[in-house]
Symmetry: C2
Subunit: 454 residues, 2 copies
């Protein structure tokens, strides 16, 4: 008599990967019962937009929310419950224990299929004074709200950013735009550790020209506080006064739930998945910032937490959860950031990474115009490429230049996906018109330089 029971998909985490997967699974399978538990207040938000919210370019925090729980409920028939934290995964019972944070009640929710999309969290170093007010990470929307509020306080004049990665650089721009004095402290001797030193030095120069004071090769030892409010950052070399501190020293995958449940982690410490986004436990998938993936150039497993990757993995997981067959091939390590009027982008292996992997390689570096010399505007882009010595395989590229320069990295990324060799790339039929490119695109100029060394 009874109707056939609906298959139950439960998703832990309501951001990019989780909600992409849920909506994709819904498109594939109208009958699936889909429930998403998100411990925060927002679903499907664009954390990458937070620096621009702090800067004021984006007016309302809600503008960063792609879709609300209500939209998921009404349009996709997805039961997305915010303020619900998952505390335990019981693989034997095929159920998770969930805490309704507002009502402080827990309950068990059964699943037939489970997707873990718990994301990653910013690293907060256990240094003296770390708990003082005014020390922020930048990961979820409430971080953005709190920082913007702090920035607008009259007593906030001096900001110290700890960490010279993408978050640090984007926040430097945002805080300068807000009229703050901005210092940036980085433990390594360069900013942007995913770039080679020579390229990083160009970005350091850009930052200094924008007005950021850089302290490279300095570790933070403790935070000073006045009352319970941060007042300074003590580095290995000096004490920097600070009314506001931004931490941008990296993130860690949120794997506690998976680990406790016995779901295997990979060599990077993130959850191990295959190219269908299946974990090693039948019926359990994982996607987004909590998993590791394959770097297509090195062949190694890497932990790369980026919104674009999380969305792709979520889509793949969703198709498979919905009964389809999709594969996530892996990444080539592409990233881009805007710093003032400068774009910085990278993909594949840097020379340093090639060195670490003991790949015999050559590099080339050029500065070349992004438009025809005679066409107004544009400017000079610095482009560096890396190629393997014996095979001539293209390994990676880095670009720093004016608006429009950075997205040229996609040419390199596409070539890496295709496994192209440098000689195959020398005469790529790239688009040319004076307002957008010189006859020899900088990308082609640097490629022929590197070809000369192979």
């Amino acid at each position: 008599m009874g109707a056939k029971l609906r298959e139950r998909l439960v998703v832990i985490g309501g951001d990019a990967a989780g909600m992409s997967a849920a909506s994709q699974a819904r498109r594939m399978q109208p009958d699936l019962k889909i429930t998403v538990f998100e411990r925060g207040f927002y679903t499907s938000y664009g954390a990458c937009g937070l620096p621009y919210y702090v800067e004021g370019l984006i007016k309302e925090i809600e503008d960063l929310v792609a879709r609300t729980p209500e939209v998921f409920r009404q349009k996709y028939d997805i039961d997305a419950r915010v303020f619900h934290e998952v505390e335990n995964i019981d693989l034997n019972r095929r159920a998770i224990r969930v805490r309704n944070i507002k009502e402080n009640k827990t309950f068990w929710e059964e699943f037939d299929k489970l997707l873990i999309a718990t994301g990653a969290s910013p690293i907060r170093p256990k240094l003296p004074g770390i708990d003082a007010q005014g020390i922020f990470s930048l990961s979820i929307l409430p971080d953005g709200l709190a920082i913007r509020q702090a920035v607008q306080e009259k007593s906030t004049h001096r900001a110290v950013i700890v960490g010279g990665g993408y978050v640090g650089l984007e926040m430097a721009e945002a805080l300068l735009a807000r009229g703050l004095e901005v210092s940036l402290v980085e433990l390594l001797p360069q900013v942007m550790s995913t770039l080679d030193e020579d390229m990083a030095e160009l970005i350091a120069h850009t930052l200094r020209e924008m007005g950021v004071t850089l302290y490279l090769g300095e570790g933070v030892e403790r935070f000073e506080a006045s009352g319970n409010r941060v007042s300074g950052v003590k580095t290995s070399k000096r004490l920097l006064p600070a009314d506001l501190v931004i931490l941008g020293i990296g993130i860690r995958p949120n794997i506690a739930l998976a680990k406790e449940a016995g779901i295997p982690l990979g060599e990077t410490g993130a959850i191990a998945v295959d190219n269908h986004m299946r974990t090693h436990v039948p019926g359990v998938w994982a996607a987004g910032d909590c998993v590791e993936c394959t770097h297509l150039v090195s062949g190694r497993k890497v932990f790369i937490a980026l919104g674009t990757v999380a969305n792709k993995q979520g889509r793949v997981a969703g198709i498979n959860l919905g009964g389809g067959d999709a594969q996530f091939p892996g990444v080539v390590g592409t990233a881009i950031a805007k710093v003032g009027e400068t774009e910085v982008a990278r993909t594949g292996l840097s020379a340093r990474e090639a060195e670490t992997l003991r790949i015999d390689h050559v590099t080339a570096f050029v500065k070349a115009r992004t438009r025809a010399k005679y066409y107004p505007g544009g400017g000079s882009a610095a482009v560096k490429v890396v190629a393997e010595k014996n095979t001539s395989r293209f390994l990676g590229g880095q670009i720093i230049g004016p608006p429009g320069a950075g997205k040229r990295i996609d040419i390199f990324a596409t070539a890496l996906h295709a496994g192209m060799k440098v000689p195959e790339m020398l005469y790529l039929d790239l688009a040319y018109a004076p307002p957008v490119s010189p006859v020899w695109d900088p990308v082609l100029i640097v490629l022929r330089q590197v070809a000369g060394k192979l």
Copy 2:
């Protein structure tokens, strides 16, 4: 006793292909005696910049000249002689007859190796009235000088552009900026015949919004003149008053010299060359707008006269002429133009071309944002792709959108060079940051649409 005679390279034509080849040959072989004959006044000029010179964005015509004959002489030891027209190639004597235009004298010049880089000339239809003053083509620098002068005359108010290709569109923008009333007449029912109809309609809309009056599907029958000055363009449907006419109806390769000498032409009517830029006659090379080349997607020979291709071919010819070994692989049909604030780009095969080639294909079309939805600026790009039905091979793409949209065509061009299939392209690791791209780049969105039809 006598020193070894220097090998003599003679180049006919001193623009992109000829001068690229000459300077490349020089880099390879310091001993080579290199002589270039150019019938015009300028060497190595950027004809692609002429619309912007007419517009006034570029102040002096000399700004378009990359290198003067003096630079070639002094820096490269290349004897570049302007106002020297080659009248005859005698393959038996291994010599060319040259006319010194200024002195009206002819002489014979012997060569060991010859490079034909005679370029192409705009088509001037033999219609009644074509010789009236005020009817211009746009090909060499003096054309630009004459048009700019005409534009600045007080009596010039109404311009008619004949031909809706790249030249026509770029000139429409330039003449509008100069305050003229601009009409554009095109024989075909669409502008930009290298685009599919649906995409061309978007550009037509852009042109109309800019203030260009379009007359599509109308052939020009004759030109009216008042005195010996053009006063109107008579089409199959109407008489358009005109103080200035720009012809942009295509170009033909300058092959008369080669043909008379018995150097074989190809199926397109341009000079036939192999991938080393050798003609079928030993010791004779050809490069640039006067040759045909291989379309890597269709496998067919095509006549594509573009500065970027001419430079590449010139470089390849120069390396080989200098004793090296370089190959020009061919083109994938990439082109781009800026029309006002809109970029239009294409590569590979359009749906129409796939149809003509009887390739069983599918297409997809999307409009998608070029930046994160919440990030200010950016806009919507229209992207169309074509893929082969049975093999899933990616065949081509077309993009129309705001600044930054057009150069995304390079992703497609790179994929075409690599022979990628659509499933390999679905999760390309393209660069994402809110100011330059949404998490799903328009390129990826349209690819997954087309994948759904394969």
